[in-house]
Symmetry: C2
Subunit: 338 residues, 2 copies
């Protein structure tokens, strides 16, 4: 049997409204009656019907986290953090899988889906500034990752150019000169790829190294398979690279596999660096040097900002938050950290 407010009210001999006030403290209740009501709640085991509450309040208590692929460990780790953070704030997080599909992202931005969620955390991949600005749905939106949008929404991300720059700088520091990049997008439609290429070029220039277009490999997607294929192509060049920087850890891990298959030693012949610090990279042979974003920070700030917007709480700080990152040196660049 399901217990509702009316049952409690009868049991405690008070009105419906009083019970409601005890439950959510909207208005003060005398100490004696409060105790009687509380006792009735405990005895009957009441928990509010969220559907009804949400109908009345106009909110559902649900927020969505939309990511391009759950099977990318980076996003799985991020989701795990966001789920627990949301739960701590009294919200339930539902995952949306956009599959890096433009239509899916657009549908989320102003779709009917919105009727059920109070707010959306979106990791956009295929859409840009215009699409975000054209958004009609009223519920709060927080963007994570990717590029620079300059839109009236919170945006949490690392500085992609600086992160890429740091990775290349490290490769230069260990003496590499022919450094390749895997994971540029032909059409330039993934902003973060564009930014990471920019950091790559800036770092090369800063080190006085030439920019060789042949060493920049485009990929269709950003998984292990893409990295492996691109690495094979690079190895087929007359003068192959002595280092590779992957768009993310998955791509870099695919490159590791291609290098192993072709009999090249890592890092002696080719050094490899990725981005994301997924756990997998701590167990590859060799272990993978990577740029580690602060996933916990990203997940927490994104959820907190969103909830603050939903509840109309004051939010401190600028719209765009750049979260810190650091370089983790492992075997794939030959110089593991202590």
């Amino acid at each position: 049997m399901v217990v509702n407010l009316k049952d409690i009210a009868q049991r405690a001999g008070v009105s419906l409204a009083t019970v409601s006030n005890v439950v959510n403290g909207y208005r003060p209740v005398g100490e004696r009656t409060r105790q009687r009501v509380q006792q009735a709640i405990d005895e009957l085991g009441y928990s509010p019907n969220l559907g009804a509450r949400h109908l009345r309040r106009g909110r559902t208590g649900l927020i969505a986290l939309a990511i391009p692929e759950l099977t990318n460990p980076y996003f799985a780790e991020l989701a795990e953090i966001a789920i627990s953070e949301a739960a701590a704030l009294g919200y339930t997080l539902v995952m949306e899988n956009t599959a890096a599909d433009r239509e899916a992202e657009l549908a989320l931005l102003d779709g009917s889906r919105q009727r059920i969620i109070d707010g959306l955390i979106l990791s956009p991949v295929r859409i840009g500034r215009e699409e975000v600005l054209a958004r009609t749905a009223g519920s709060p939106l927080v963007l994570i990752g990717e590029g620079v949008y300059d839109v009236p929404h919170d945006h949490i991300a690392i500085d992609n150019v600086a992160a890429s720059h740091a990775a290349i700088q490290h490769l230069v520091a260990i003496g590499r000169r022919r450094i390749a990049f895997i994971g540029a997008t032909p059409g330039g439609d993934r902003q973060s790829a564009h930014l990471r290429v920019r950091g790559y070029r800036e770092a090369l220039a800063a080190a006085g190294l030439p920019y060789r277009p042949l060493l920049v490999a485009g990929t269709e997607a950003f998984g292990r398979l893409d990295g492996m294929r691109a690495m094979r192509d690079l190895l087929a060049l007359g003068d192959p690279p002595d280092a590779v920087f992957g768009y993310n850890d998955l791509v870099a891990i695919g490159a590791l596999r291609a290098l192993a298959e072709a009999g090249h030693r890592v890092p002696e012949d080719v050094a490899v660096v990725g981005i994301d610090d997924i756990e997998e990279g701590r167990f590859t042979a060799p272990t993978l040097t990577t740029i580690a974003p602060d996933k916990r920070e990203i997940g927490r700030v994104a959820v907190r900002r969103l909830v603050a917007r939903i509840e109309g709480t004051e939010v401190a700080g600028p719209l765009t938050v750049q979260t810190p990152f650091r370089l983790l040196r492992r075997e794939s660049t030959g110089t593991p950290d202590a």
Copy 2:
């Protein structure tokens, strides 16, 4: 502005109830009026308020998938499948992370959480038959994975004993004699570990090989780190194994890492097999032989069964469904499939 049934009714010049009937076809509506209403819906862009609908219907349209860890790629892949299957059936799937915690699993089984979801798909880890039977919450429950429960709920899983047996059989077939198992639980509290050890012992016996307790390594959890540590311990034995079967792919991948660090060749010195067929295993060096469960089938059947129970539809077949699996031979056992 948010459009509701009343707006549509006014616009189309019909009653509220008629619009509702057009929307969800509860009762027949004349062709002419249906068209007028449909046109109004299209023009004003109506989508139902799910909170209100759910309050009225007594259902929320939400189902939960509770798994021990989202960062295990096996579960991430499974979740991706379940999410899309649920969406296809008109349900929204929310993820619950039990973190392999007994209290969390119990709370899900009969907790207040239930008020918001219509049904639960649970991958139990720390609870057994009694706890499931003691469940008080009324909403449907579907179990996935793990052991044999014999409870009045649908249960989707592979035959763990047979799967384990098949893996060992393969190792025997390629000539291995000292076969270790990594991922037994000391207390025996994870049922599937128990079953996989049983399959291991049965296969050894069938091959006329002795059961050596020293070659069965327990682990705290079932991640890469656990596998790595256990493998190190096995290598420290006076007479190390010539093959290893991991509780899952993650454990096996940890073992691969330990073997590489210690300078052992795989598969020449030690062959390695896992279970789960996570994508990662197709890119390790060497690639990982594994038992591949049919994840798509598991995810689909679990969601469909649950939805059928929720909606009171007739369900064919027995409560316990054993989904198929197959052995994928890769480099870590030296005999890749064609």
